[in-house]
Amino acid sequence: MEEKEYEIPIEGSLGLLAIGHIGLQLWREKRAAFETENDEGISIERKTDSETNSSNLYFGKISE
């Protein structure tokens, strides 16, 4: 079977979740590497729901 290279998206995907623990590890590594490389000026924007005090990442944008 031909192997295809797959770029792990920084925001993750349902497909990565469905792969299981390996998908989670690869995604977390990608996020960690992204944060290390861009620890100045680039972050994943998080909104906070003040009423529930819960993080709201669903529409976080990757912004510089």
Partner: protein, 876 residues
Amino acid sequence: MVIGWDSADWKIINPLMDAGEMPALQSLIDNGVCGNIATLDPPLSPMLWTSIATGMRPHKHGILGFLEPDDSGKNLRQTHITSRKVKAIWNILNQQKMKSNVIGWWPSHPAEPINGTMISNFYQTANFADDWKNWDLKKGCVHPENMHETFANLRVHPTELTEAHILPFIPDAAKINQTKDKSLMQLTKQLAECASVHNALTYILENDKNWNLTCVYFEAPDLISHGFMKFHPPKMEHIPQESFDLYKDVVNGIYKFHDMMLYRTLQLIDDDTTVILLSDHGFYSDYLRPKLLPKEPAAIALEHAPYGVFVARGPNIKKDERIFGASILDITPTLLTMFGLPVGADMDGKPLVQIFEEEIKPTVIPSWEFVDGESGQHPKEFKADIYEVHDEKALQQLADLGYIESPNEANNDENFNNNIKENQFYLARSYYNAKEFPKAIEILEALSSSKPVKERFARYLLECHLSLNNTKRCREILDELKNDKIEKSINEENLQIAIDYTNPNQLKKTKSTKKTTTDTFGILMIEGNILLNENKNEEAIACFEKADKLSKDALYSRMALGNAYMQSKRYNDAIRIFENEIVYDPNNSQAFFGLGICHHKLNNYDKAIDYLLDSIGLIYFNPSAHYHLAESFFEIGLYHEAAQAYEMALRLAPNMQIARTKLEKVCKEYLHDTERYEKIISEDIYKNAETIYIVSGLPRSGTSMMMQLLEAGGLPVFTDSLRNADENNLKGYYEHEAVKIIHKDNSWMKNSVEKTVKVVSHLLPNLPMRYKYKIVFMERDLDEVITSQSKMLQNLGKLEQNTAHYSIEVSFRQTNDKIKNWLNDKPNIEVLFVEYKDAIENGNEVIQQLNTFFNSKLNTEDMQQVIDKKMYRTQK
């Protein structure tokens, strides 16, 4: 491998598979078997998944609800695995030196020390307030404990998820006002939690190839369905268009995601692994979706449909076939049969032998509970308190779902007592579902003793009394209902809309316009059922017809009307009703059953056979359906088929004498195969079991005299002789101290094999089922028993002279009735009832009866010396 998808339903799956959107499940089905699987009542997850893992009903396995008292007995906690009273399939395999993995099964906390890995059902629980990088995993969630950190790191926290995970479910999620609408949070939480369970599963499958059984449970299809099924197409009238447009794809989305996880799971196992995928019940997704629910605990279970999904694929599993008649009770017996192990006769399910390509003949043992060996259960002295999970947020989630009362709605004491009562109610329903009506009545009468009586308790109590033809008590309950002494579930204040995350503040009150209609409807239905029970068929029909006019959409009234027509021999009217019902609900097994009976009565045997097979295909546990099927086969000359159906009726109801007689007739006179009949009748799983002789009855009913008599006849007695003869028992008591604690410890019974033991009647239900018993049950006039007991207590100085405890007569009578009922259907128990008066006055006759009962092994001459008429001192 057993994969559990809570609530999964064919009505959602089939259109998705047809569209090619669940390819993994499709591949399982193409290479295996599929069908409906019947649930149990009450359809609540902790009870059902434990029934799946044990093959037993809740009143046997001991898991009775979502909550239970903690070890102190003062507070409530979520139900722990330590409340399960019997072995699960993985414990049985453990004893056979096999290896199991169990992930997320409900309930499985604290994880049991099995040979393999167990991840408890609290493992994946996530709260938004936690920081995912410092997210503690509770102690007791992982076995072996040294893997705690590894598995902790495999969990997905909801705050890690992004729009990439959410938009496939809700493309217009950006429009949601998350301050008011909590739907996104719920979806994200469920998605994260099922991903955590899947990660634990994939980790185990990649790192351990030497397991025998892996069981994994996913809860999300159920929780997502409770939250979002109301938005599933077709649009329900009361759902705003905007909400429908936003959330209409969520239910399909969660099924598709589970299919993606299944695809990955199948990649990690080989084709030689047998896979069973099932749900514990279905979920109404069409016009049967309830819009309003009574405001009572676990009312949302009314959204559950009675049939879930069952799929199996494996080396010896048939290919591309549909199977019928499966129940969730059958999973453990089927797994045991696949592993070549015997099924416990105390299990309520049967092996699904129809799924096997090559026939496997199941074997049976009395019970796995008495099989020794390391089972991987927590030891008896184990206390769960250090592993207890008092998770307020988890409790609140159960309350939000309507499964339990909100911790904030009542003070702790009241909440505690209500939950204990609710578990008792579930226990009674389990007995009711198993048709053990006297046991259900005992609990329901106790629940109904505190006023105001809850309508749901009264409803089940009525049904139980009706089943036992206790019309007088039914009328009393009906009068209470009419006089408003019962707290009704269904009235204007007590209706709520099904769970709605989109508008949680509006959840509580939704007005119904049906108050008077509903109450009148309920009373008419009860009145009709009582009249039917009294054979006042035409009056009953009038009641049901009135009820049907009041509530055009009430399935209950139409089925009752059909049954009433049938009972009054108006078969064509009944057929009209039942035919309409199967158009409305093609899964209505009772309607198919009614059609089968009616066509049989009208001599349309071919139609009767078709309908009865349809009914059995939906609900297998219906001895009457098998019996009538046999009758129809017999009428058209299909004697082999008739014998098979009679045999099945007899297996399901061993006391159905008419089936036994007909089976004998068919085998001997039509098939000329006497051997077949003899073989069926002689199949005795207890044939190698050891026998213990018991003398029983109420205290002072002549049990000591019978012990003397049997000892004189040559049967060894089991007694410690600690209690000496006295003026109350001139020739001794023949007791053993160990008997008094039989409910806690029965290990001494192995020393009483082939001996006679005195066991007072109320302790009989504690006899372990591994032995055969021959019981001589002494009966004596209750006035005499009470007078004799009072004299004895007076002699001992424990009761004032010339007084007697006559007030306990009712209680004694009830106990005796209950015990006789219990004795009635036990395959390992033979009983000889002996009247004390007869034993004294017609001694020789009774001795002859005893000798026959004990297979002529008694020395009757020596026995005659024992009977002393002077001993009959207390008589009327």
